[in-house]
């Protein structure tokens, strides 16, 4: 595994959006929890962390027990506590909303418990002392594979994770805004999974039929946690320019490599959560003028409402119903992005309105209009059914239509959150274990 460069500038500019709780504050907050039965927060969490239980343990000063409660459901409990959109998950479901009170700060309490666990040198527990001879390969070292790998390793299986990049964690390491989850924190968390004895192979990209067949020979089951493929390109004249940048690559670069130089004015195309993360990062890296341009209206954007509010606070501007048409550049670089006003025509299709062209002055363009599915790889796997580029699985188990393969995370759900991927990976891990237990019985 490569090491992460120390970049003080990034640490300084991307300080915690939600700072950790002090012990006293955590105790007070934990004591506010009503300890609901069959708690809605637990139901809303894709990994069903027993929230009242772990919060109760904080209140009773059993921090180790609290962290283990979290980890039992979600092995990436530390990163989820920072990266989860809790406003629409556990905290959104808190019954205190209906009692004219602030919901419990579940995420910060979870981080408190996990920070204490890491600080105390805690290690992941094993769930079975028995060593299993079956071997499982996980393709991709993102949250789905990590959860699957940890679950199986905890139950005694031999697990190998294959990752094409130099660092593990997938979007946890490369894609989550640094002010939410620093790459370093993601890697620290993964150290615990390594300590279980999961083997990681970096710089290995599985692409061909032959490579897959080799894996199939070596491993009894294969988990596909490959995520999504390349970012969709703008597809307009001039989009080959080197300052037209994939927003995810832009984020990955500032998080794990040299901070990219940003220009005075940056246009961000798209209005999803990635677009917002990239726009905020451009502001924090020094761009004076950052605007998100979106074809549709505020109502239609896929970013969470709280992310939209946050971006406005960061000083990001928004322009609605704008279609990029052409990029203008000269020898010195990009000069402007030519845009047109968009409207929905009678057929319900978005189109540029003639004669509404205008130039948005910018020197860099970040695009975040979605990622394509990894069709090249997925269609190579024999016997797995795809639908709209997604792997079709049995949801409770993650089993694909090829019994050797399980899958989870973005390649199954089309791109959701870290916690969704963890839930998928864990379910698959439990199911793979069960499959072998049935086989042995």
């Amino acid at each position: 595994m490569a090491s992460l460069p120390e970049i003080p500038e990034i640490a300084a500019r991307f300080g915690d959006l939600h700072p950790p709780l002090t012990a006293q504050a955590a105790l007070a907050e934990a004591n506010r929890c009503l300890n609901c039965f069959d708690a809605p927060c637990m139901g809303a969490c894709p990994t069903h962390i027993d929230v009242p239980r772990f919060i109760g343990k904080i209140a009773r000063e059993n921090l180790r027990g609290s962290a283990l409660t979290i980890l039992d459901a979600n092995v990436l409990g530390a990163s989820c506590s920072r990266a989860c959109p809790v406003e629409v998950l556990c905290e959104g479901a808190c019954v205190l909303h209906r009692y004219n009170k602030k919901p419990i700060e579940i995420a910060r309490l979870q981080r408190f418990a996990m920070d204490a666990f890491h600080a105390a040198g805690g290690r992941l527990p094993v769930k079975s002392a028995e060593a299993r001879r079956e071997k499982v390969a996980c393709i991709g070292a993102g949250p789905a594979s990590l959860a699957c790998a940890a679950e199986l390793r905890q139950r005694g299986f031999k697990v190998t994770v294959f990752e094409r990049r130099a660092l593990p964690g997938g979007l946890n390491t490369y894609g989550v805004a640094e002010y939410k989850l620093p790459a370093r924190a993601s890697l620290e968390e993964i150290e615990l999974i390594k300590a279980l004895g999961v083997e990681f192979r970096y710089g290995v990209e599985i692409r061909t039929q032959a490579e897959l067949e080799e894996l199939e020979r070596e491993f009894d089951r294969i988990f596909l946690g490959v995520g999504l493929g390349a970012a969709r390109r703008l597809g307009i004249p001039g989009d080959e320019h080197r300052d037209v940048i994939d927003a995810l690559e832009f984020i990955a670069r500032y998080k794990t490599a040299d901070p990219p130089q940003v220009t005075r004015s940056v246009a961000v195309i798209g209005a999803g959560n990635t677009a917002i993360d990239a726009a905020n990062a451009a502001r924090r890296l020094g761009a004076e003028n950052v605007a998100i341009l979106y074809r549709r209206s505020e109502r239609d954007m896929s970013a969470f409402a709280f992310e939209f509010e946050h971006a406005k606070q960061e000083g990001v501007q928004f322009q609605w119903r704008v279609i990029p048409v052409r990029i203008h550049a000269d020898a010195s670089g990009i000069r402007s992005l030519e845009c047109a006003q968009a409207r929905v025509n009678a057929a319900g299709v978005l189109e540029a309105v003639d004669g509404t062209d205008f130039h948005f002055d910018c020197q860099q363009i970040l695009y975040a209009i979605g990622q394509s599915p990894l069709l090249e790889l997925l269609s190579t796997v024999r016997g797995i059914e795809l639908s709209h580029g997604r792997v079709v699985v049995d949801r409770p188990t993650g089993l694909t239509s090829n019994p050797k393969y399980f899958a989870g995370g973005d390649c199954v759900n089309g791109g959701r959150e870290v916690v969704d991927a963890v839930a998928d990976g864990k379910r698959a891990g439990v199911a793979i274990n069960q499959a072998f237990e049935v086989a042995h019985a």
Binding site: F37, P40, A59, R395, E417
Partner: protein, 437 residues
């Protein structure tokens, strides 16, 4: 003097007597659910300042606040002369009354004072009588709760001539143990000692004992000064309703300072005017008669829990409390709209949780999944239902419900005539015995 400025009418002076020394530390507390000092414990003895200094200060306070009552709390060895001497000294200093500390449960009791006196009716009566031989001012006997029946000691005090009693003194306690050092608190160089417990936690015990004294035929009419967990006007009102003519406050002032006095006065005055009481005497003792022996309670009275669906926030604490701790008559089986398939009417907590754990939840994406989880109203499926035919009216659900007035206990007509256990058993005794075959 800070207390007098803040609005209190009198004060009981920290117990004076022969010089003693105190240890450090002296206090420890019980915290509960993030709240500090639900209960306070002390291993402090009587005043460790010289007697003459205390007496001089009593005189000084009386000079500055002649209209405020200063009661001297006294404790000396159990000798007639010693008591005569201290009574004279306190009264000469200007004390308006005397409180005999027969209650201190720690330290002093090892030396035959404090609760060592208050636990033996004969000693209580004897020393009270000694004091009364000498005293010109009213004598209050402070009762210890560390006995099996406080009425016995109250009666002894009255026989000894006490003009009043005060109750309760602190309760023998060990508040807790430091789980790192394994030493109980408070820690005095690696050891601790039994202390006296006070503060909000002891109020129910104090109220019970005050009521017992107030309702006892032998001590009827004996003035009572209420002590034990009084921190606000509400507790003051409760003690007065159970017969106290005055109340004493210590822990609350130690916790928050004399700032607490203002609202004790203001809150009590507001409550009194709301209820139409113009003096303490108008409501003093009104609740004494409402405490009765269990056998005189009406067996035909029936209440059942009622959940206000509009107020319910769906925490389901009532459900699990009733299921695990009461009578299994609250269920989560409401459905909205037509249901395809079986509705489990009496699902156990374990099966309810299992359904949630097995469910597949995903992060909602506004564009794909609609707007959020609709926090405005509680889903019907989360609002528990009371099976009124099974409900015994125990109150537990209404006690655990975090929402004010969401669960109320509603009286239901049983049609049965009011009848107590005493009446029922009397009627059975009166019935002619059935012939044995």
């Amino acid at each position: 003097m800070r207390a007098f400025d803040a609005g209190w009418g009198g004060a009981v002076w920290k117990t004076i007597g022969e010089p003693i020394v105190n240890v450090s530390s002296r206090y420890s507390s019980v915290d509960w659910n993030g709240q500090r000092m639900m209960g306070l414990n002390n291993i402090e003895l009587i005043s460790d300042r010289p007697l003459d200094v205390n007496l001089r200060e009593i005189a000084e306070v009386k000079r500055r606040y002649p209209r405020h009552a200063v009661i001297a709390s006294l404790m000396v060895e159990s000798k007639r002369e010693a008591w005569h001497a201290i009574v004279a000294q306190a009264e000469d200093a200007g004390a308006d009354g005397l409180e005999l500390n027969f209650g201190c449960p720690h330290g002093m009791s090892e030396r035959g004072m404090g609760s060592a006196v208050g636990q033996v009716p004969e000693y209580t009566e004897m020393i009270t009588a000694w004091v009364k031989e000498k005293a010109r001012t009213p004598v209050i006997v402070k009762l210890t709760p560390n006995i099996s029946d406080i009425r016995v000691i109250a009666r002894a005090a009255k026989r000894g001539g006490a003009d009043a009693v005060s109750a309760i003194n602190t309760i023998n306690s060990i508040t807790g143990i430091d789980l790192d050092t394994l030493t109980p608190r408070p820690n005095v160089d690696g050891k601790s000692s039994h202390g006296g417990y006070c503060g909000p936690a002891v109020k129910p015990i104090a109220l019970n004992m005050v009521q017992q004294v107030a309702a006892d035929a032998e001590t009827a009419g004996l003035p009572i000064s209420g002590i034990g967990g009084i921190a606000t006007w509400k507790e003051a009102a409760e003690f007065i309703l159970l017969g106290c003519g005055t109340v004493q406050v210590c822990t609350a002032a130690m916790h928050y300072g004399y700032r607490i006095v203002e609202d004790m006065v203001d809150g009590l005055a507001n409550w009194m005017s709301e209820k139409g009481f113009s003096s303490i005497e108008e409501f003093r003792g009104l609740s004494v008669g409402r405490v009765t022996e269990w056998k005189h309670l009406n067996l035909s009275y029936k209440i059942v829990a009622h959940i206000d669906e509009a107020k319910c926030i769906g925490c389901e604490l009532c459900y699990v409390a009733c299921w695990d701790g009461a009578h299994q008559c609250i269920h989560v089986d409401r459905v909205s709209g037509p249901v395809n398939g079986h509705v489990e009417l009496h699902a156990t907590p374990a099966s309810v949780e299992a359904v949630t754990r097995a469910s597949i939840a995903v992060t909602p994406i506004a564009k794909l999944d609609g707007s959020g989880n609709g926090n405005g109203t509680t889903p019907l499926a989360r609002i528990p239902r009371v099976d009124e035919t099974e409900c015994v009216g125990c109150n537990l659900c209404s006690l655990v419900c975090p929402v004010e007035d969401c669960i109320t206990m509603v009286e239901v007509a049983t049609g049965a005539k009011a009848e107590t256990w005493a009446e029922r058993t009397a009627a059975e005794c009166a019935r002619p015995p059935t012939t044995q075959h």
